[in-house]
Symmetry: C2
Subunit: 230 residues, 2 copies
DNA sequence: CCAAAAGTGTTCGCTTTACACCCATGG
DNA sequence: CCATGGGTGTAAAGCGAACACTTTTGG
């Protein structure tokens, strides 16, 4: 039923999956197997299919291209990108999604999955399409999310210490924080973390209490970076 | 060049144009002239065309449906909506844009434009498609924007008083503010407003100094609502 | 004079920040 | 003992909420 002035196009979903690894903020990238940009690094993603939700497409593509199970992951829409010439294959509008996950080994099983890997955000330049810009937007969004939500816990495993959580903030923000004040701020925010009762023995130093993510979503009051963006 | 698993669809752009009018937050709506939802209120919007930018489509549709010139308006992307059944005409993904403008009379010239009008947000329910949800998301975004950016000035004309600006905050947030503290907060934020030197005589009371929008974009420190959302 | 809105000064209390200090472990 | 990171106490500084008070107009 195409009509006059009605442009038909394809819709892509691109994924910015972030983790904290080796004291650096890293992004999940794939090496493109097909043209255009064959052999070049890109964000994982793919085309929306019939009957599929945007988030559903994101979860499916994540699994197909990296072997990861995206269910349970907090997938947050960043923005839609629609410049007419952003994709040489034709008119393709892309919706970017952001997720944060703990530092887990990537499955190496699947065929497509074999090309997926972590890249430090600081060195992730020259990506295919307009993925440099998408990545920059998503990282800025993630930095803001740490200020106002409890999503930093998404970077940690099931159990973590306050030091682990502080490390997430320091790495994502690229800014050192006072360990003592950070401790109080986190523990003083109801629902941010819950003690598990366990302890973790470090290589050196006093054992640290273990926590898991609490029920709260929003941080009130927020934990603000002093170095304001903009 | 359609391939397997590549869904072709149409992309719509929907507009949430807000203003403050009669001490109420109001949204620009149209009455649909075509099916589906013929005769029902909806947000202005339309389909993306060939070679067109997302923002370009938003500006064009705004002009076609309301007669307004969207150039110069701060159009901010809110979100993309992609539920498979959100539009009975077929698979249509919509990208919503938000803009804030002063209380100007709407052009009544154009044929399509004749159905455009302002509706108080509080009474704007039962809109076509999923526009109720889009409106709610956009309004929440606007409320947050007032906290962290200088966009409240977009609701005012070229010249305005601090009282005018405070009224914008009070109406959009639905919450009274202390006039004295608000005054200092605004004037103490560099680049928020600039004095024009003029004064405005009210019907009753002391004349108020006039200001215009300053060069700043972000509010640092922010002006936070006490009634936290969520 | 009074009413009403604009604008200034000041106090109180909380949050943030900076840092001294103690705790618990391995070597 | 020392080094290292975890955790508590505390005082100073900064900021926002509340409100007394002055200013400038029209009636």
């Amino acid at each position: 039923m195409p009509e006059r002035d009605h442009l038909y196009l394809r819709l892509a979903v691109d994924l910015v999956i972030l983790t904290v690894r080796d004291d650096a903020l890293q992004v999940l990238t794939i090496t493109r197997a097909n043209k255009p940009f064959r052999g070049q690094a890109a964000l994982p993603g793919g085309f929306l299919r019939e009957g599929e939700d945007l988030v559903g497409a994101a979860v499916r593509e994540l699994h197909e291209e990296t072997g990861l199970d995206g269910r349970g992951l907090h997938l947050e829409q960043v923005e839609a990108y629609g410049e007419p010439d952003r994709d040489p294959r034709g008119r393709i509008v892309s919706v970017a999604y952001l997720a944060m996950m703990p530092n887990l080994p990537l499955p190496t099983a699947g065929s497509d999955a074999s090309t997926a890997g972590w890249t430090p955000v600081a060195r992730a330049t020259g990506l295919a399409f307009d993925h440099d810009r998408i990545l920059a937007d998503a990282v800025e969004r993630a930095r803001t999310r740490l200020e106002f939500t409890t999503l930093a816990t998404a970077f940690c495993g099931a159990d973590f210490t306050i030091g682990d959580l502080r490390n997430v903030y320091e790495v994502v923000w690229g800014q050192p924080l006072d360990p003592r004040n950070f401790n109080r701020k986190v523990l003083g925010t109801e629902g941010f973390v819950e003690p598990t009762g366990g302890k973790r023995m470090p290589e050196v130093g006093r054992p640290a209490a273990l926590y898991r993510a609490g029920g709260a979503t929003r941080l009130n009051p927020p934990i603000l970076r002093t170095d304001r963006h903009g």
